[in-house]
């Protein structure tokens, strides 16, 4: 263990007291590490000092022209005539910095809350004060105000999202469009427990380091080509996101992206690579969510509504979700590589291999978790068939109950315990419940029928392909501004109402593409938890997020529309 090393910065700056300075000098004679560190810091400091008078004058003029300095700056001594080139050299010596804290507090925080919540209230009151639209009842008018309140509070988030979701039943009851039992009934739907259980399963993966192990193993297996590494990490993100929470998956994989990028010495190259990997993880976590009901809360909400009007199972969703994923996932990977070319073509996979080696062989617990996940996924898909085959009690193998049984199994085997589960994002429970509550209120008060009449021109008398493109694009672009659960909660009942009154369509033809399109919220932090997470880490520049996100959204939407159009033509829908 190293002992008696000196404080480099204080020594170089001459801040050590006399005796300590002498002791430090003695120590430097015998300690290579400290001597090298002192030399490096001294060089760095020297490079920051100004040059001769001409050079200082030139930099001062440059500063004036760039507007960074004024003529009086030298008089006040606040002129920092830092050598631009030296500063660049210095900056290059520093590592890439992400995850830097933001400062929001005090009065600004209060203003932030009042400003946003005030705006939501103002919009709600404005809708209430408008004359009742033709064809809408008085209750429907108030429910419409409830919709505006919900959309506002979930989009602007004056408080954190789960608390905002809790405001929804309060608003619906206060507006007189739901009773308290009606407003809260949706919070206990099976689909809510399905999503909740998937978060518990994510916690088991996280707790035992399985996600990291598999991600690192995939990187090693990729061989180190940038495209292959990206594909590997995107694949892991997508596969996990199909079965467990996609924001949690993104959060677990971001540190792995940081580990890959740290091998790149050049800061700019490292930043490019990190942005590419981070966006790849976030996009693919969203795309993986398309595959199953529990992949996204919008899927859960849409399934909740569909199961009320038709037989709708876990497998039914996968029949459409998986092909959509299979087409759009490779396209996204390809587009990302084209849109964000990186200078690094090869990444050394040895450090990742070393990490995998350090983790040792897969433990029995990890194997058990993987086996349990495989069994659970099989039961999610084949549960209804088994139920019939074995004459089991009705809905014993429904998706929600299977998920809850899996969680019970993990707890009985002491793989997870209650303490672990305390840390999961319980808020999703409130967000889905609130989304369903709003949707049902809109349906009960006739708002969905009224909205269906407004949207009908988009699907009637227009070529099918164009209708699909329009509906999908509207949904995909809206999801950048609004929570996708809200979009599903509002539009799914409307689309179901419209499908029921339009012979050319069935509910699935409209609901599935519109709900799946809520996956494509890539442009703004408000689009999804994944994008909010990326924005808060500072790994991806906001401009780049918007630029690439918009391209991805539009291309993915068009491809999704094309896919569903083909499925309809082929009689698959």
């Amino acid at each position: 263990m190293a002992e008696g090393h000196i404080r480099i910065r204080e020594y170089v700056d001459g801040h050590l007291p006399g005796k300590a300075q002498q002791a430090a000098e003695k120590h430097l004679v015998s300690c290579d590490r400290c001597r090298r560190a002192v030399e490096r810091l001294q060089q760095r400091r020297a490079s920051q000092d100004g040059g001769g008078p001409l050079r200082i004058l030139s930099r001062f003029t440059e500063g004036l022209m760039r507007g960074e300095l004024n003529l009086l700056a030298p008089l006040f001594g606040n002129i920092r005539l830092k050598d631009k080139k030296a500063a660049k050299v210095d900056a290059e010596a520093l590592p890439l910095r992400v995850l830097r804290p933001r400062v929001v507090g005090g009065v600004r925080k209060l203003y932030f809350f009042l400003g946003r919540f005030g705006l939501v209230l103002l919009m709600t009151i404005a809708v209430l004060l408008l004359p009742t639209p033709e064809g809408l009842s008085a209750a429907g008018h108030r429910a419409l105000a409830g919709f505006v309140f919900t959309a506002g509070v979930l989009a602007l988030e004056p408080v954190s999202l789960p608390i905002a979701a809790l405001m929804v039943p309060v608003a619906l009851v206060a507006l007189g469009v739901a009773t308290t039992p009606e407003a809260f009934a949706t919070f206990s739907r099976p689909v809510v427990f399905l999503i909740l259980a998937s978060l518990f399963l994510a916690e088991a993966l996280h707790k035992h380091g399985l996600t990291r192990r598999l991600a690192l193993a995939t990187i090693v297996a990729s061989g180190g080509g940038t495209g292959a590494v990206l594909l590997g990490i995107m694949g892991i993100a997508a596969i996990f996101s199909m079965w467990v929470g996609n924001t949690a998956t993104t959060a677990m994989l971001i540190p792995v992206a940081l580990t890959i990028s740290r091998q790149i010495d050049d800061r700019d190259n490292a930043r490019e690579l990190l942005a590419l990997l981070a966006l790849g993880i976030a996009y693919s976590a969203s795309l993986g969510g398309m595959g199953t009901i529990l992949g996204a809360s919008a899927n859960a909400v849409a399934s909740g509504f569909l199961s009320q009007v038709m037989d709708w199972s876990f497998l039914d969703w996968m029949k459409y979700g998986i092909p959509a994923f299979a087409v759009i996932f490779p396209l996204t990977w390809f587009l990302l590589l084209k849109l964000m070319p990186v200078a690094v073509t090869r990444i050394d996979v040895e450090p990742a291999r070393e990490q995998v080696r350090k983790m040792g062989r897969m433990s029995r617990t990890e194997i058990e978790i993987l086996a349990m996940l495989a069994v659970t996924a099989s039961l999610w898909v084949g549960g209804p068939f088994l139920e019939q085959l074995l004459h089991l009690p009705d809905s014993l193998l429904s998706a929600a109950l299977v998920a809850v049984m899996a969680v019970c199994y993990l707890a009985i085997r002491e793989i997870i315990d209650w303490e672990d589960l305390k840390g999961i994002s319980w808020g999703i429970f409130l967000i889905i419940g609130a989304g369903l509550s709003l949707g049902e209120t809109l349906a009960r008060t006739g708002v969905t029928d009224w909205l269906a009449l407004l949207i009908r021109p988009l699907v009637e008398g227009m070529p099918l392909a164009l209708s699909l493109v329009l509906l999908i694009l509207i949904s995909a672009l809206m999801t950048n501004l609004m929570n996708n659960t809200t979009i599903a909660a509002v539009f799914v009942p409307v689309l179901i109402a419209m499908a029921q009154s339009t012979p050319d369509f069935n509910a699935v033809t409209l609901v599935l593409p519109v709900t799946l399109a809520t996956t494509f919220g890539y442009s703004l932090p408000s689009a999804s938890g994944r994008m909010a997470l990326l924005a808060s880490t500072g790994m991806v520049d906001r401009g780049a997020m918007m630029r690439y996100g918009l391209i991805m959204t539009i291309v993915s939407s068009l491809v999704l529309a094309g896919l569903f159009y083909l499925m309809i033509l082929a009689g698959f829908l």
């Binding site: 590592p95 890439l96 830097r100 990291r212 580990t259 990190l274 990490q355 350090k358 983790m359 305390k422």
Partner: protein
């Protein structure tokens, strides 16, 4: 013994107070924030390293501080990353990644407040 304490918030201050009982321990404190509880409370005068510890900055921070042990004493809330969903999971995963990568022993003395 040189110990690098990551975090000078409430938890960091608690850890520092305990470690200061042993004068043989040389303490180095890293925290990227401007307003620090440990400084306001007079536990330390200033932080030595203003840096966020990530896998990208790990080598530099270790090189600069040359600790024998690193204590991660920064709660998720203190990271100041806002309240994006999944921040808790990210912070946890980040701490685990740092612990796995570091050649110096790293011990977590705080997890997210639950």
């Amino acid at each position: 013994m040189r110990i690098l304490v990551i975090g000078a918030g409430r938890t960091g201050a608690k850890v520092l107070r305990q470690l200061q009982k042993n004068s043989d321990i040389e303490l180095i404190v890293a925290d990227p924030r401007e307003e620090l509880y440990a400084v306001e409370e007079g536990v330390i005068e200033k932080v030595d390293i203003r840096e966020t510890l990530t896998p990208l900055t790990l080598d530099k921070v270790i090189e600069e501080s040359r600790p024998d042990l690193v204590l991660l004493a920064m709660a998720t809330e203190d990271m100041g990353l806002g309240r994006a969903p999944g921040i808790d999971v990210l912070a946890d995963a980040l701490r685990e990644e740092i612990a796995a990568l570091s050649l110096v022993p790293v011990i977590e003395v705080v997890r997210d407040r639950r």
